[in-house]
Symmetry: C2
Subunit: 366 residues, 2 copies
């Protein structure tokens, strides 16, 4: 298990240093930069650092000694990268809330209003959030570089770091394109949703952090390959779980209003499977109810004024939830089987941790 306190100290120290750099430029920047500092300090489950750490250990890296702080620097880099992704994603999705608080662009708009500034608070909030996300991305790169260089692992790790960032940003671009497209065919929608899931979430959350940890440790190719298979499966399952939470999740757990995915028009596998079931049922002689529900669902998705509970009930009635749960189970099993490929065999403690993380990332929340 990664030393969560030590990681938190690393993150706090890094943020304190960067905050001081910014305030040395102008102390009035405390307001905006503290939005980012708090977001990174307080937030998240530190899932990517956990996977990075498992990759490091599975790849043969030592669990103690001077290298640990260097791995933790790269772990902190993953959290800063994630901060950039979330802060910018909330702008794109027009999300109001994140982790139970106002999204960063909303918090910055509130700063504007509170300080009696000139101009449009919403545009100011978006502008500040664009720049804070950029700062997080730049600082992520600084930390990666520092940690990987100190581990003398740049040649092995830089290609993974590069692929991960290009993938997550391309996955977000693809998500925009897919959400804006007028495709109605459920099979195509499912393929698109799976691809967005793979690049926007799965690779970025599990597969690449594991691979990055293994690369920092100079792991053999068979180990990297086994970890990547596990990571790809668990990553996809993690997003499938998130899709279920986005429709049926408890706001107290998710930190976001219930059914936010529905009114944001998010094109999930869950939604594609629900639409496929309704479309299939519509062709039956008794299909008029299914036709009506499909029309109601299509009219409501992406509409901020839609009845979220009603849309969720339609989806639940199709059997799509069970179908998604089945996929999650299959992926989890496949992931655990892949771990047998690690050479020269996975340390039992690391294996236990990866089993636990697979569970934590994909388990029913309630």
């Amino acid at each position: 298990v990664i030393d969560a306190d030590r990681l938190q100290q690393m993150i706090a120290a890094e943020l304190a240093g960067r905050r001081a750099d910014v305030l040395a430029i102008d102390p009035r920047l405390a307001g905006p930069v503290d939005l980012l500092v708090r977001f990174v300090s307080d937030g998240g489950k530190r899932l990517r650092p956990e996977f990075l750490w498992c990759g490091w250990l599975a790849g043969g890296g030592p669990a103690s000694g001077p290298d640990v702080d260097r791995v933790l620097q790269v772990a902190a880099a993953l959290e800063l990268l994630q901060a950039c992704a979330l802060v910018h994603d909330d702008i794109l999705d027009r999300s109001e809330r994140r982790r139970g608080r106002p999204a960063t662009h909303r918090a910055a708009a509130e700063l504007h209003a509170g300080a009696g500034l000139l101009g449009d608070p919403d545009h100011y909030g978006t502008s500040v959030a664009v720049l804070l996300g950029d700062l997080a991305l730049a600082w992520a790169d600084d930390l990666f570089l520092t940690g990987a260089a100190a581990l003398d692992a740049i040649d092995d790790a830089a290609p993974v770091w590069r692929a991960m960032r290009t993938e997550v940003l391309s996955g977000q671009l693809l998500d925009l394109a897919v959400t804006a497209s007028d495709v109605r065919d459920p099979a195509t929608q499912e393929i698109d949703a799976v691809r967005v899931n793979r690049f926007k979430t799965a690779a970025y959350t599990v597969e690449r952090p594991l691979q990055l940890g293994a690369a920092l440790a100079g792991a053999p190719a068979a180990t990297v390959s086994a970890l990547r298979t596990y990571g790809a499966d668990i990553g996809v399952a993690f997003q499938l779980r998130d899709d279920l939470l986005g429709v049926f999740g408890d706001p107290a757990v998710t930190g976001k209003p219930a059914g936010d995915d529905l009114v944001e028009g998010k094109r999930t596998v869950l939604l594609a499977l629900a639409r496929a079931a309704l479309a299939a049922a519509s062709t039956a002689s008794t299909g008029s109810a299914a036709r009506d529900e499909l029309a109601e669902l299509d009219a409501g998705i992406g509409d901020p004024a839609a009845d979220r509970e009603r849309l969720a009930a339609i989806i639940a009635g199709t059997g799509a939830v069970q179908a998604v749960e089945s996929r999650i189970s299959v992926l989890r099993q496949s992931a655990l089987t892949a771990l047998d490929g690690v050479e020269p065999g996975l340390d039992p403690a690391v294996h236990h941790r990866l089993v636990g993380l697979a569970e934590a990332a994909t388990a029913r929340v309630h």
Copy 2:
């Protein structure tokens, strides 16, 4: 002089590689990613690469041999970083045009409209531009890392790269804060404008690229110090010239509509000096005309419907243009004097080039 063709080839090859990475994820991403590829390929005066190259030579780096391509990689990184800054800045400033073409967020909105996509084209355009800027920033870091590692110069160069990115982003944040603040005192406005200029433009455009080149070459401290003084002065003068162009520039030269800075409400040194002159004249017994002009200026700045020619004429009538021109001259002279501090003396060809760049970056355009 930097080999412009070779730099262009380096940029083109790098962009082709990254474009292929994105299209491997999904070929539908060609539309958005090509906006970025074209923006970086076609655009700009390559000023930052020129300064980087001068810093490299001034610091003792060889003008030929295998290291040149590595320096050019870092030069290409500067152009990608600049692409991020401009693409995001155009969102923040709500700029419609850049380099004689639609700004990236406007071009992306046109893609949306042209393809018959769902949703709000403007929000789609902004979203795509946020992600393209992020990609440019991530790719800039990849290139910096590759080049600096190959030159075995990470320890020397990474702190400069880090400072440059934090500075330009903090300068942009400060610009937002200053533009939104309701400060009316001309002296305070001038101090704020000078500080924004220093961090948002001067350090980022001249001082840090020169220092980065010198760091890549392992230059002695006296050389770095002399180059930084030159760079800070020329950088500030460059922005003062840009401020004049933003009000009085020929759109055919600037690629932006005449007087765009005025209607965007940009808080420049030029504007602060004009307001200071009008405020001083207002206190005289014959000051009613000045009072009226100050009120007219304050009402028009930041108003998209304002009469740009009239605002420009008011500014020109205050003598602020001559005051800014004087500052540019003084800074240019001070910068050239600083070059005498380079040890063991600057190669005459490099000296000649830095004199020429000082002229090019700050000269009257018409």
